[in-house]
């Protein structure tokens, strides 16, 4: 009897699991290659930070590789992944007067796949938190060089996260703007008819 109950209980939970897994199923993403690179450079940066010392004895090459992976990850997320996976962009524009304006934009035209966005946000946020954790542990153990590399990773990740978060707020504001415009139009038409 118990096992029968357990069998009935397990079904909805399994259904839930299947939905969650499909949210991260990269093979069904709109841009699987770009999702892969989004994850790949982060993975390489973490791997070289944590384990490269076991493979390569020269600390110099470790440092070089970590810096290169940090740079690649930042560039990829800012210029390529953000644009294709979530349709957002942020940059700085300097006016002729010399004032610096930060712009946070979203592309209306692209269709945003849910899997793409969830992969993007999960891994960006996860990587940022992980680097922040490493900085914290390094500060506590006074490992200054490790602080430098973890700190660079953390700051680049959080900068990207902040930039895209502001873009997504802009996107939400735009959506609300469109919604209010449509409701206004609808009301006008209703009043006229």
């Amino acid at each position: 009897m118990n096992s029968k109950n357990e069998g009935i209980e397990m079904k909805p939970i399994m259904g839930q699991d299947r939905e969650e897994i499909s949210q991260y199923d990269i093979t069904k993403a709109a841009h699987p290659g770009i999702c892969f690179f989004h994850i790949f450079f982060k993975f390489c940066a973490f791997f070289s930070y944590l384990f490269l010392g076991l493979i390569i004895s020269s600390t110099l090459f470790q440092y070089i590789l970590i810096m290169i992976f940090h740079a690649f990850d930042f560039y990829t997320v800012k210029n390529i992944t953000g644009k294709f996976l979530v349709g957002l962009r942020w940059y700085s524009h300097i006016t002729p007067k010399g004032d610096e304006i930060w712009k946070f934009e979203c592309f209306d035209k692209c269709k945003r796949s849910k899997i793409d966005s969830s992969v993007f946000w999960t891994f960006q946020f996860g990587a940022s938190c992980a680097w922040a954790f490493f900085v914290f542990t390094n500060v506590l153990s006074f490992e200054f060089v490790d602080i430098l590399f973890a700190g660079i990773g953390a700051s680049l990740s959080w900068i990207n996260l902040w930039g895209f978060y502001k873009c997504s707020k802009d996107q939400q504001r735009k959506m609300k703007g469109v919604q209010s415009y449509l409701t206004k139009k609808g009301l006008q038409m209703a009043v006229q008819s």
């Binding site: 070089i64 810096m67 300097i94 010399g98 060089v145 430098l148």
Partner: protein, 202 residues
Amino acid sequence: MDYTNQKHPQNYSQMEDLKTLDLEESVSETIMRDLRMIAYKLKYVLIPKEQEDNGKELRNWDLWGPLIFCLALAMTLSFKADSTTTSSKSDVFAIIFVLIWVGAFVVTLNAQLLGGKVSFFQSVCLLGYCVFPINIEAIIIAFIGSYLPFVVKLIPVIICFAWSAYSSVGFMASLVPPHKKKLAVYPVFLFYLFLSWFSLIV
């Protein structure tokens, strides 16, 4: 310091129209476009004849050029460093890396505190691009330095230092009020002098 962080700039839609083309751009096009921008800015900064309007092109700052030159300089000097102890090589790398970025930050901060109206990143971008002659000099010395006496090695060092300093001083001096020019320019000299000297003795 005079910044305006506008949330709704006037030409927002204009900029968006121009840049919606970006969405159609493939990955390789994006990368090539950025590389071309770096090469163009490098030429602009280092070849004085190209400069029509001081700092106009630097408005579209980017920090990728400085990162590439910083990495290249750090790698050159650390490869060349004393190979008897492996720890000193990686130390040199970390020192150069931190030195360039913190140095650029301090020089920019100095210019801003003197009343200069400059975008922080624009100034760091310029200082980073002007590190390129020191890169050249470090590579020259790395390859043929061991065969030359010290005095002969000084010649490319002095030429490249003068080139770096001249390229950046023009821009930095234009940012601050005239009576404070020397105060703004002095740290720039120090910065490149230290980098050149470091590349000579390592």
